[in-house]
Symmetry: C2
């Protein structure tokens, strides 16, 4: 297999197929089958995100997948953004429907008419609701499994507040949740950018998006959170009676962690030339036991290995690989599948009372007394996770660059990609032409300014128009 850094695209396509993450042979263009090896992990990622949302006061709901055409038309910018990419349901059974329904590309227009009914007074606020669901978009760009497909799996949280201050605090909470989960738990580094005005979510006041970098230095957007201001509230009539007796429009935010894409980043960032590397708590099989059998000693090895499997299963997702394959084949198989810990059980191991334990991420091996295995693996799992995060952070740090001209930007992107900090005249609509220029010149995409803020450029010129720069923006090539 290729290594992810040297030839990412080939590596990604191979791993998808070899580790059986996704089957591309489904007979509808742009739709793929997510196989158990991926779905198991995604299921765990879903639960972690759902629990975090609930801990922070969100409640689950299930809104319909289909939306009346007239709902979509309610918010002007939103319909312009989404109408070109929706799937339309026009018939049912043998009947032509009187009115067209669309499959949700995102759920604002399904949810907000209900919010208008549900919200009357201040006691109805804040309202924080999420749903885990699929959405459908008629993508015309080339699809790539987990990264861009016509159906994808995400969570969308839609929150409503009385005041702008609360909405902005929610944006911060959304970002902190991403830090806690996507970085600290999944080991995926990212930067939250405030998108330039020309690249906002259709209908939003501001869009903040977490961008990571894949091993080829191209960026992939992970969750985004949007300050909708009162734009949708005005279109959908989401109002509350304030203490002063005045009816006021509510402030809204929407947050969209796309589990399919986060999974793509997970496998791309941690994987190596042998295959997947999964964080310990996300792996389907956390511990694989490989019996080293020689002719005649099955009776000694297998019962021992089975007992070990039973013991370890009490604490970990453990699998004894008692297939007919050779140990070497099994090592490769479990490495390809990203199993974090492998235990070899041969005659010598049993006699010496110590198992050979190999960790997937570094390949290091240790001899560990059988009775100490549960505690050892527990600790090893933490070490593996820590080490994955540290390595990912260090790779990510090495891809932070800066440039003062289009030429420098091109050269930075050509040599391994990454985020390139560039001086820009503005991040408002009037600067869109400068972004276009960067795109045309070197396929650079302007991701926005760092949400956390930073110093202003001093005496620098915009890389697009050459005027006085007022802000640092970040450029990258994107997926």
């Amino acid at each position: 297999m290729d290594t992810p850094k040297e030839n990412f695209s080939e590596w990604y396509n191979s791993i998808i197929k070899d580790a059986r993450l996704c089957d591309l042979r489904y007979n509808l263009k742009g739709f793929v089958v997510i196989e158990p090896n991926a779905a198991d992990v995604m299921g765990r990622m879903y639960r972690i995100y759902e629990d975090a949302l609930e801990l922070r006061g969100h409640r689950k709901a299930y809104f319909p997948s289909l939306i009346h055409e007239k709902n979509l038309e309610t918010e002007k910018e939103h319909v312009e953004g989404f109408a070109p990419e929706v799937f339309w349901v026009t018939e049912a059974g043998k009947n032509k429907l009187e009115e067209r329904m669309l499959m949700r590309p995102t759920s604002e227009t399904a949810i907000y008419p209900m919010y208008a009914l549900w919200i009357n007074g201040k006691s109805d606020l804040p309202l924080k609701i999420y749903q885990s669901c699929q959405v459908w978009r008629y993508e015309t760009k080339a699809t790539k499994p987990f990264i861009r497909t016509r159906e994808f799996h995400w969570i969308e949280a839609h929150d409503v507040f009385a005041t702008e201050a609360e909405a902005l605090a929610q944006i911060d909470e959304d970002m902190q949740m991403a830090e806690d989960i996507i970085h600290d738990s999944f080991g995926i580094p990212f930067i939250f950018f405030k998108r330039p005005q020309w690249d906002k979510f259709a209908g939003a006041v501001d869009t903040f998006a977490a961008d990571t970098l894949l091993p080829d230095g191209k960026t992939l957007q992970l969750p985004s959170t949007h300050n909708l201001g009162t734009n949708f509230a005005k279109s959908f009539g989401i109002k509350y009676m304030d203490d002063d007796g005045q009816e006021k429009y509510a402030h809204q935010t929407t947050y969209g962690p796309c589990i399919s894409r986060i999974f793509a980043a997970l496998i791309a960032i941690h994987g190596d030339s042998k295959g997947l590397i999964l964080p310990f708590h996300l792996a389907n099989v956390q511990v694989a036991i490989i019996p080293i059998i020689r002719k005649g000693n099955e009776e000694k090895i297998l019962p021992f290995a089975r007992e070990l499997e039973a013991t370890l299963s009490k604490s970990f997702r453990t699998k004894l690989d008692d297939s007919d394959n050779t140990p070497g084949f099994k090592y490769n198989y479990w490495e390809l599948n990203g199993c974090p810990v492998r235990i070899e059980v041969g005659e010598r191991d049993i006699d010496s009372g110590r198992a050979m334990v190999a960790r997937r991420d570094t390949g290091e091996k240790s001899q560990v007394p059988f009775e100490e295995l549960p505690a050892y693996i527990e600790e090893l799992g933490k070490q593996i996770n820590d080490s994955l995060i540290r390595k990912a952070d260090s790779d990510f740090a090495a891809l932070q660059k800066s440039a003062d001209t289009l030429e420098e930007l091109k050269s930075a992107l050509d040599s391994g990609g990454g985020f390139v900090k560039v001086p820009f005249c503005s991040d408002k609509m009037e600067a869109e032409a400068c972004a276009e220029k960067a795109k045309d010149y070197c396929s650079a995409n302007i991701r926005g300014s760092k949400h956390e803020g930073e110093e202003k450029p001093e005496g620098k010129k915009c890389i697009g128009c050459g005027k006085e720069a007022t802000i640092y923006l970040y450029a990258a090539r994107q997926y």
Copy 2:
């Protein structure tokens, strides 16, 4: 509020609205919004079922929601059964699609073409995969929230085996899982019926379905599990190379726990005239703390109640209701919402060191020292669950009846409904006319024979045709 037994339909409609389970004002016919009070509980039910499936060797997958028209046409009986009720996607963006896609009404025709690719040898079997998803059916009958809507939420498991014996063992496992979860954990009694041949899943050899009874004595179908034999395997080419070097068709089963419907049964069976009654482990808020505040003692009561909330939150989903409403209003509110345990904290309680604890199901109250509350509530939760199951079982047992003629059947159904055991000439296709007769005469639906088996009728006549009866079938009025 009505009581569920006396006027079930009114009661059900009220509880849906008053406890904010479902909003029927969504502007697409047959589609409803499942609100947080229901979705929270359904989310827990999903996780319990998913964990049970995984424990029994199923793995999660995500298959596309859309299906190519030609897939549906592959299995002849299946297409006849489902074509009249599918939603068709015919346009995307501004384009008319060259080929129609249907929204899955169930996923056999999305999944089985992939299984044909995935299964080659015996080592690929058994294959046990499930997905948690929505399905869409263009229902023309009147819709009823959670019971019959055009979009519903279920789990579908699709299993493949080398032999018929393994497939039949899976059917047993599916039924046992229903017993463990739906009865033992959710407290919903049911009988697994083998459906008569005229009422099978389209394309199946045999259909087994768990039917419960709602308080009005009408039956509601909960999970069904189907022995597909080799019918679909032949249509879709799902074959494996057997040890004898022969290529053989695989045996398949499919299992469909419909979470929306199980939720409907849950609230209908346990609820009372005050509102919802939820099992302890499924409740959104397990413990509600109601401060009994009198003018001037807020400073004493509220900090104490907040500390109690913090303590109990370590073990239970706990909510201090510090809204401005009166205690009486709060009691009613939490009773309506099915909160299993209510704790009242007033001045006298604090002074005496004992809280007043009320259980929702029986209304019983006890005084419990504050420091003993965690252990007491833990135990009370179990008692509540046990008591809910016992009560539901006893109500269910009282609705088991028998009849030897259509007149007796009608009279049994007219007096409170239930399952009525009736002698029948057969459960094969030739007896469908007898079932039609029962339906026309008294709206009785023939649910099938008890899967667990029972004695044959001796000297009895079929209630339909009057010929010698060969089997006992069960009749009920259905949702």
